[in-house]
């Protein structure tokens, strides 16, 4: 049987968080209230989305302390666990794009992939910067007007309405359009978290002596440019674009990949 430990852990985390958010509205729970824009943990600790907060600030308004403190808490948290852990362990759109990606593999659509020259993995950073500029010009948090992430999350909590079309659009884009199109190329929130987690501590570590060069990890990885060291050298994945999803660890049958603390090796040398 295939090893799906991290996949199950991720799905459990995603569904638990979404259920807690849902329960806050439907049953009045005080575990995790609000949405990603801003939340309250245990009715006490404020949390806020750093990218949304920046957009709101540049739109020209002073925000309440809760949002500022919340954004700092979230930023520090993901600086440690890896910024894009949000993408693979929390974000509900990940469920949609993972499904599209899985179907792509099953339907063997990857073989037919068209080369979209203008859509590069760097595009998301342009969109991220653009979102901030547009927010400043128009005077409203601009990505929040179209963000499929919060549209989907609010949909789960408050009801979808026509917002479901955005989710379907992302699914179709990722399935028939560009592989990992949304999460891997466009999403400015993912780009923000890539930057936040660029120096994070929890990393995937590769042991190239165990590696049999089967390339399963690269097939399953949604950001496989970060796995450039596979079968070459025994180092950790240090790229901020790695989502710490652990799929590579799940599919590896040779014990060549595992989660580790990035600085542990350095420390051991010091001893």
């Amino acid at each position: 049987m295939k090893n799906i430990k991290y996949l199950l852990l991720r799905r459990a985390t995603q569904f638990t968080l979404l259920f807690l958010y849902f329960g806050a509205n439907a049953y009045g729970w005080h575990m995790l209230e609000g949405t990603f824009g801003s939340s309250k943990l245990f009715g006490l600790i404020p949390l806020a989305d750093p990218y949304t907060t920046i957009q709101a600030l540049v739109s020209g308004i002073l925000l309440g302390a809760d949002v500022i403190v919340g954004a700092l808490i979230i930023t520090f948290f993901y600086m440690v666990v890896g910024g894009r852990a949000f993408c693979s362990w929390v974000c509900p759109i990940n469920l949609v794009t993972d499904l599209a990606n899985w179907l792509r593999r099953k339907l063997k659509l990857d073989k037919e992939e068209v080369n979209y020259r203008f859509l590069k993995r760097k595009t998301r950073y342009w969109i991220m910067a653009l979102g901030i500029i547009v927010s400043a010009i128009v005077g409203v948090a601009s990505f929040e007007l179209i963000s499929p992430i919060t549209i989907m999350q609010r949909g789960i909590i408050f009801g979808f309405g026509a917002g479901v079309s955005v989710i379907i659009a992302i699914f179709l884009f990722d399935l028939f359009g560009v592989k990992n199109g949304w999460c891997g190329h466009l999403c400015p929130l993912g780009a923000t978290y890539s930057l936040i987690g660029a120096k994070s501590i929890i990393r995937v570590e590769h042991n190239h002596t165990n590696c049999t060069n089967c390339m399963e990890c690269k097939v399953v990885c949604p950001e496989n440019q970060v796995l450039h060291m596979i079968h070459k050298e025994s180092i950790s994945v240090t790229d901020g674009e790695c989502t710490n999803c652990g799929r590579c660890i799940d599919v590896c049958n040779d014990n060549a990949l595992k989660f580790s603390i990035l600085n542990s090796k350095i420390r051991r040398k010091d001893d």
């Binding site: 209230e33 002073l62 409203v140 609010r154």
Partner: protein, 274 residues
């Protein structure tokens, strides 16, 4: 050498392409964002900043809507949970997506004493200070979510039929809506009981709109920006000291054009031959 030139050209071309496409995206995005936020006929929760500032500050977290639907007082008479007043705009609502609003004909604001929706706002898009009275206590009567407007032609009270549904539904009865008595000249022996809304007291909760008996409500709440006029500095109540304060900074406007060079003349009678 030729190779490095090629590389440089390629680099320049890609950079130019990225910048160009970003500019294109920016234009489309700005255009969309500007249109999307222009949905003025929307009622916001109590204490909301002016619509423009509200849209900047609202982080779309939904804490107000969650507090609203889960308020202790929000029960039907049989104890079952009542629908929340505040809704989060979703696709198809034609409001700025993810922002809280309410539709009084559907569910009005019940004006809870403890105003659960406001203190939870993390971004202060709902300004708690605007709802504090002189004793620094929360006072929902200070809210100005909108202003009720009466459409005389469809209000049956103006036909001479007795109806005071809105007057009785109003939580600030006899202050926000008063009944004005007038003689019904058609019958000669009956009275009109006409609802009159007072904008200084009305909170825009919409209980009147909910209670209105006509097919489409003859009394309805509009954002104050849209239901109120403004006299401006040209008109002042000369008999009212307080009103004169209002225009103390008004400046006279002197128009200078071709005509002002000429002498003042009796233009109505000039060129008239007797």
């Amino acid at each position: 050498m030729a190779n490095s030139n090629n590389n440089r050209r390629k680099f320049m071309a890609t950079t130019l392409q990225s910048v160009g496409l970003t500019a294109l995206g920016g234009l489309l995005w700005s255009g969309y964002a500007d249109e999307a936020k222009a949905s003025p006929l929307v009622l916001r929760p109590p204490g909301a900043l002016s619509e423009d500032d509200f849209l900047k500050a609202c982080i779309k977290c939904g804490l107000c809507a969650e507090a609203c639907v889960n308020r202790d007082s929000n029960k039907n008479r049989d104890g079952s949970k009542r629908e929340g007043t505040l809704k989060m705009a979703k696709g198809g609502d034609h409001k700025v997506i993810g922002t809280p609003f309410f539709e009084p004909r559907d569910v009005p604001c019940y004006m809870c004493d403890d105003i659960p929706c406001v203190p939870v706002c993390p971004s202060e898009a709902l300004d708690i200070k605007s709802l504090l009275n002189k004793n620094e206590e929360l006072d929902i009567n200070l809210a100005h979510m909108g202003l009720a407007v009466v459409h005389k032609e469809s209000c049956v009270a103006f036909w001479g039929i007795q109806c005071d549904a809105c007057y009785r539904a109003c939580p600030i009865m006899d202050k926000a809506i008063t009944l004005e008595y007038q003689k019904n000249e058609r019958t000669g022996k009956h009275a009109f009981l006409l609802p009159v809304v007072h904008s200084d007291v009305c909170t825009g909760c919409g209980l009147c709109e909910k209670a209105c008996i006509t097919e489409k409500p003859a009394i309805f709440v509009l954002p104050r920006e849209h239901s109120m006029g403004k006299a401006g500095d040209h008109y002042v109540k000369g008999w009212d000291k307080k009103d004169q304060e209002r225009v103390k900074d008004a400046k006279a406007i002197h128009t200078k054009d071709e005509r002002s060079k000429r002498e003042v003349s009796d233009y109505l009678n000039d060129e008239v031959e007797y």
